[in-house]
Amino acid sequence: MAILEVENLTKRFGGLTAVNNLTFHVDKGEILAVIGPNGAGKSTLFNLITSYNRPTSGKIIFEGEDITGMPTHKIAKLGIIRTFQETTVFKEMDVFHNVQVANHLHFKSNDLEEFFNSPRAKADHLEVERRTRELLNYFGIEQYKDEIASNLPHGHLRALEMAIAMSADPKLALLDEPFTGMNAEETDRAMEMVRGIRDQKGVTVILVEHDMRAVMRISDRIVVMNFGEKIAEGKPAEIQQNEAVIEAYLGKEEEGELEDVL
């Protein structure tokens, strides 16, 4: 069953068409990778789904509901959470506060109750503190809870990023290059984390990634984009054999390698 359907999505920035007539879907519980060369429109796609940009035309349907152009915070409330390309945590806050802030949707009391610290607000705080400890524990960073986030080592930073993303109990997580800048061992651990949120928390995952080795290992299905258009879709094994992909994507990589040699 499709949890997210993207229909004929197009985004133009002036004369540039970043996403062109894109149609695909994600099934519940799937890990879908979106790959493609730089400038293929993958990040724009994420921005469109989470409404950081409005599409020029086309529709985005989440659990049967049209969410095209809905404000970002409402989309988050429906259950779509994204991460960003550069590691995104609240850098100058301690780890515990990072996750507490991200638990915003679990506070039931309104701002006035919060200001006057009403019994309901107090109960919310207790519940969120419990959730926060649980999340930090799950991602293995509870010993850093008083540390300022920017002081965390890279691997733990990714864990914190995931803890922030999982704070809202999303149904669908959009991960923007979750394995970038990692060595093989860190990548393995991050892949475990991604599988974990799917298997244990039941989160559907769409990820954009350049690390082909990781993509081939982790994804159930792959959508390949080039110049804003979908050029292929299928299981990892099929994608590896697809000529259009090899030409557009791997061909380009050879070019890159050539440049490196020269």
């Binding site: 970043a18 493609g36 060369p37 730089n38 400038g39 293929a40 429109g41 993958k42 990040s43 724009t44 989470t50 950081y52 404000p71 970002t72 915070h73 988050a76 409330k77 959470i81 994204r82 991460t83 960003f84 390309q85 550069e86 995104t88 945590v89 609240f90 850098k91 100058e92 806050m93 301690d94 506060h97 507490q100 802030v101 991200a102 915003h104 949707l105 506070f107 701002d111 919060e114 200001f115 610290n117 607000a121 705080h125 300022i148 920017s150 002081n151 922030i164 993303a165 704070s167 809202a168």
Partner: protein
């Protein structure tokens, strides 16, 4: 209770003792000196508002406009509509907050210098409005002879009796209001709303993706700021018993911001410290007052260079201040100054796709 908390309580108690008991006793017959402390208290109120907008990552040079709105609202309601001070005081704050809310809907989309320039021009715009709306404001002649606050009674019970022109009364009025405002802002910052403001300053995009309605919280912060500007302007007006278009100008807006910088953007007590230190210093050094603006400019430059986290980051900060400051690499002021083009970092480093 640990030692730091103990030291903090002693410090706060001492400051309150000096502020509420020692100063009024020493200055009780020196009207002029008492007025200076009153002025500093009212400036602190308005600056605390500016500090709140700093806390969501916006440089606000428009507080003068809202002090003006508060002041004129009070003057017009008292002189032309026959309201009591207490009614018009509240309405002044609310009207300033409402106008701030409406402007905020539009201008809070901007960041950095763009927001700063717009707020700066707001001050000038409102000065011109006050100058030209002669029917309401008497234009350049201003409104004079505004009476001091009368008695306050609610449901027939007199809560505050009529003190006439007593300055000691006004001293305690301004002190009470400053303390209430400080406690309210302090509570706001200890609460989840304070975390959200901070989160918005660090990354609006990430805050949005957590399901937080940043538009709402940005406007909340700005409206509170304008409310504080409005009530400070209202008190100034009944304190000086007059108001002119020139009462609150661009200069004043800049000073409100300077107090925050001087005290320290990281500290809630920063704007109060800044306002008292600068106001006090200029009264002590009255012979240099004609160079005031030049000196303010030099202080501002010196702060940016040598003390970007303000006076509170000196020793005092150890008692009063926040945790773990040593671990922060960049200062609040640094970040705000760099934030004038917030997207440049992300977009230039990584191409889309």
């Amino acid at each position: 209770m640990n030692q730091k908390n103990y030291a903090r309580i002693v410090l706060v108690a001492t400051l309150l003792f000096i502020y509420l008991i020692v100063l009024p006793i020493i200055f009780r017959n020196q009207r002029y000196l008492l007025n200076i402390v009153i002025t500093a208290s009212l400036l602190s109120c308005a600056s605390l508002g500016v500090w709140i907008t700093f806390s969501i990552g916006r440089i606000n040079i428009g507080q003068g406009a809202f002090a003006g709105i508060g002041g004129y609202t009070t003057a017009i309601l008292i002189m032309k509509a026959g309201f009591s001070f207490w009614q018009s005081f509240l309405l002044a704050g609310l009207l300033a907050a409402l106008i701030g809310f409406l402007f905020g809907l539009v201008i809070l989309r901007l960041k950095g210098v763009y927001f700063a320039m717009l707020t700066l021009s707001l001050t000038e715009t409102f000065r011109l409005i006050f100058l030209n709306a002669e029917g309401l404001t008497n234009g350049g002649n201003g409104i004079m002879g505004i009476p001091r606050p009368g008695a306050l009674s609610i449901a027939g019970i007199t809560i505050i009796p009529n003190f006439g022109r007593s300055n000691i009364f006004f001293y305690y009025l301004s002190a009470t209001i400053l303390i209430i405002v400080f406690l309210a802002v302090w509570r706001l910052y200890k609460s989840r709303i304070g975390w959200i403001f901070k989160a918005i300053r660090i990354s609006e995009d990430l805050t949005r993706s957590c399901g937080i309605n940043i538009v709402k919280y940005r406007i909340m912060a700005y409206s509170i700021c304008c409310f504080l500007g409005g009530i400070a302007g209202s008190l100034f007006t009944v304190f000086y018993q007059n108001i002119f278009p020139a009462s609150f100008q661009v200069n004043d807006s800049v000073y409100f911001m300077l107090y925050c910088f001087l005290g320290g953007l990281d500290y809630l007590a920063g704007p109060i410290l800044g306002a008292f230190v600068l106001t006090g210093a200029f009264e002590v050094l009255r012979f240099i007052q004609k160079y005031q603006e030049g000196i303010y400019a030099c202080i501002m430059i010196a702060l940016m260079l040598w003390l970007p986290n303000g006076l509170m980051s000196l020793n005092l900060g150890k008692v009063f201040g926040k945790r773990k400051e040593k671990e922060l690499e960049t200062t609040e002021a640094d970040k705000l100054l760099k934030s004038y083009n917030p997207d440049s970092g992300r977009k230039s480093l990584k191409k889309e796709g």
